[in-house]
């Protein structure tokens, strides 16, 4: 009988929870968000320090520079995962019965992982970058010990394990409700086997995509971390550097993308509340998410375009799928958001403004990313500042406004409220700073300035100085948001 049950029939009722479960969930969401805001702030400070050092505003030495670079990358990526997950989990639990205990288990494991990573960097002096590109962790030239590298990788492994446990709970509950992940993703509609069910939640589709790609991505990351850990203590057991590089970039690419695909549920769920226009599933919506599921996993070779020994067909796929992967964002999600807002009579507040900003940031980040994924362009752009330019676009103006918009929604007790003068100031400072930060990165990349250099040549320093100032503005704007939410979130009724 389950086969004959339509998605509409299943989705007609929302999940209800006991008071105790609700309280645990509420505390969990707040813990995730408040931790995210605090760690993001600290990591932004780290980022500004890096740009200030490149611009000669500070002299911190190469060893500390690369340690801070490592903590900035690992901290930002991990916290993006935490914040994005909080958004997704909050909305998804309306439709499937998720366990708050599992949410807390992931949180506890995350904190242990963070402690290990911080210890490895600031006590063990590990500075192998968050991408721990084999065999660098084992070849520090005496700068850090094998133990420091091992603790760092163990920290990453623990954090990944926590997320896998959380995804297991999500996967079990999705399959329990929809029968299989294909139905939860809407594949029967994609393949013309079923008509569109307008009551199938967009959040469920997004969550299924995130679950599929990130489970596989983190599993690949766990495999490569275990292999690298083994190699640290058994160096005679050599790994294939190209295979390991493929696995690392597959994991890294999928994980960071999944953070955005998780947090975008805030846009799907909240913009309709502001505009009175529902964001329903449609054929293009299903096609886009099915395609994104495949493309987020298959597009990672665009990180290896300068590894010419890679099979040619993989490099070609890396370029073509990079072009294709922009279409769901540019023609479906961002386009859908604009359609919903256009002549809707929306009354803007901080939440809705941040959510629309996130659509601009995501769509804007696609542009330099796609161009750089062209093999012939990549020859003069790969590993220049162009790269942090495009991913800061996605993250600073895409992901973070999604999370901040969500925080703002919760802080206002799910009510629309007029933006305060402080909120407007924070928005303006943050936006101006973010555009400055991104454009100085991109301009540096266009001027061939390499990324991840502790010391910049005199010709490069002016843009680094501008970048440091712009980064400082981002930090100020974000700190205002953070302080507001740290005061209001604990009192919010979730």
């Amino acid at each position: 009988m389950a086969e004959q049950t339509t998605i509409a029939e299943q989705d007609q009722s929302l999940v209800t929870y006991s008071e105790q479960e609700q309280k645990l969930a509420s505390l969990g969401i707040k813990a995730y968000l408040m931790t995210s805001l605090l760690v993001f702030s600290l990591m932004m400070l780290a980022g500004v320090t890096l740009r200030a050092s490149q611009g000669t505003f500070l002299d911190i030495g190469a060893d500390l520079f690369y340690q801070i670079m490592t903590v900035h990358g690992a901290g930002m990526v991990g916290t993006a995962g935490l914040g994005g997950t909080a958004v997704l989990w909050y909305f998804l639990r309306k439709y499937i019965n998720l366990s708050s205990k599992v949410l807390w288990v992931n949180y506890a494991i995350f904190l242990v992982g963070v402690v290990l990573i911080l210890g490895s960097i600031f006590i063990g002096k590990f500075a192998g970058a968050w991408t721990f590109l084999y065999p660098l962790p084992a070849k520090s030239m005496g700068v850090w010990s094998v133990e420091a590298a091992a603790v760092f990788m163990l920290g990453l492994l623990l954090i990944g394990t926590g997320f896998l446990i959380l995804y297991l709970d999500i996967g079990i509950k999705l399959i329990g409700k929809y029968g299989n992940l294909g139905r939860a993703l809407g594949l029967p509609v994609v393949f013309g086997m079923k008509p569109i069910d307008p009551d199938h939640p967009t959040t469920v589709v997004a969550a299924t995509m995130v679950l599929i790609v990130n489970f596989i991505g983190i599993a690949a990351g766990a495999v490569v971390l275990v292999l690298c850990l083994f190699n640290l203590y058994q160096p005679e057991y050599e790994l294939d550097p190209l295979l390991i590089k493929n696995l690392i970039y597959f994991f890294g690419h999928v994980f960071i993308n999944a953070t955005i695909y998780s947090a975008v549920t805030a846009v799907y769920e909240l913009l309709p509340k502001y505009t009175g226009r529902p964001w329903k599933v449609s054929k293009p919506f299903y096609y886009a998410w099915a395609a994104a599921t495949l493309m987020v996993m298959a597009v990672y070779p665009h990180h290896l375009l300068m590894d010419f020994v890679m099979p040619t067909w993989l490099l070609v796929i890396g370029q073509i799928l990079s072009y294709c992967s922009g279409i769901p964002v540019l023609a479906v999600t961002a386009y859908g958001a604009l359609t919903i807002v256009y002549r809707s009579g929306i009354k803007w507040d901080l939440c809705s403004a941040l959510l629309l900003l996130s659509m601009f940031g995501w769509a804007g980040g696609v542009i330099p990313a796609i161009i750089d994924a062209t093999v012939s362009v990549n020859k003069v752009m790969h590993n220049t500042m162009w790269v942090p330019g495009h991913f800061h676009f996605y993250l600073v103006l895409g992901l973070l406004p999604m999370i901040l918009g969500f925080c703002s929604y919760l802080s206002a007790n799910s009510q629309q409220e007029k933006a305060s003068a402080t909120g407007k100031l924070a928005f303006g400072v943050y936006f101006v700073g973010a555009m400055g930060l991104i454009l100085t990165f991109l301009a540096s990349g266009a001027n061939s300035v390499p990324r991840r250099w502790a010391e910049h040549l005199p010709d490069w320093q002016f843009l680094s100085q501008l970048g440091a100032i712009a980064g400082g503005l981002v930090l100020v704007g974000f700190l205002i948001f953070t302080l507001q939410n740290l005061v209001r979130l604990p009192k919010a009724s979730i």
Partner: protein
């Protein structure tokens, strides 16, 4: 040159994106029937999708045929081979002097961690690059069109003195 063109193209695309968002925001507080908005916008979306697809296919064909990377499994006929090995934190290059117009086949590998072999001209512009990876050799072809002193910079983070890992090439 290519990098500057890419920069200008990116700025133009961003300007269009800002204009579209700006247009929508300035009209967001007016009210229209949603069904009418959907009908109009979704009709445009089909064309927009088609436009993106055609543009993407065109650019793919133009930039991938011929494939812009040298054959990796055999030496390129007529090219002068030069072996390059990255070490923490220096380069060994078995020949660093070339003639203008001479096609060089850099065979790039590493003795330890992964490095990035990037060639810069005197103005500081990145001309070409490839990864220097242990146990693999990447071949990159380049013909210098001007005499002068060129720099090699490391473009893959490789540890404490990554930024000091440079070398020089001379073209006569």
């Amino acid at each position: 040159m290519l990098a500057q063109s890419v920069w200008i193209l990116t700025l133009l695309c961003l300007a269009v994106l800002v204009s579209v968002f700006g247009y929508v925001i300035t009209r967001s507080t007016e009210v229209s029937d949603y069904a009418e908005v959907q009908r109009k916008w979704y009709a445009i979306r089909g064309k927009w999708f088609l436009c993106l697809a055609v543009f993407g296919i065109g650019v793919s064909l133009a930039t991938l045929l011929p494939f812009p990377v040298a054959a990796q499994h055999s030496a390129t006929a007529g090219a002068s081979p030069v072996n390059v090995v990255g070490h923490q934190w220096y380069w060994t290059i078995d020949d660093t002097e070339y003639e203008v117009g001479e096609t060089i086949e850099f065979r790039v590998t590493s003795a330890d961690s992964t490095h990035g072999f990037g060639i810069y001209d005197e103005s500081g512009a990145l001309l070409t690059q490839t990864q220097a990876m242990p146990r693999y050799t990447n071949r990159v072809l380049y013909a210098f069109d001007k005499p002068g002193t060129y720099s090699v910079l490391c473009l893959e983070y490789c540890g404490l003195a990554h930024h000091a890992m440079t070398a020089q090439l001379t073209v006569k």
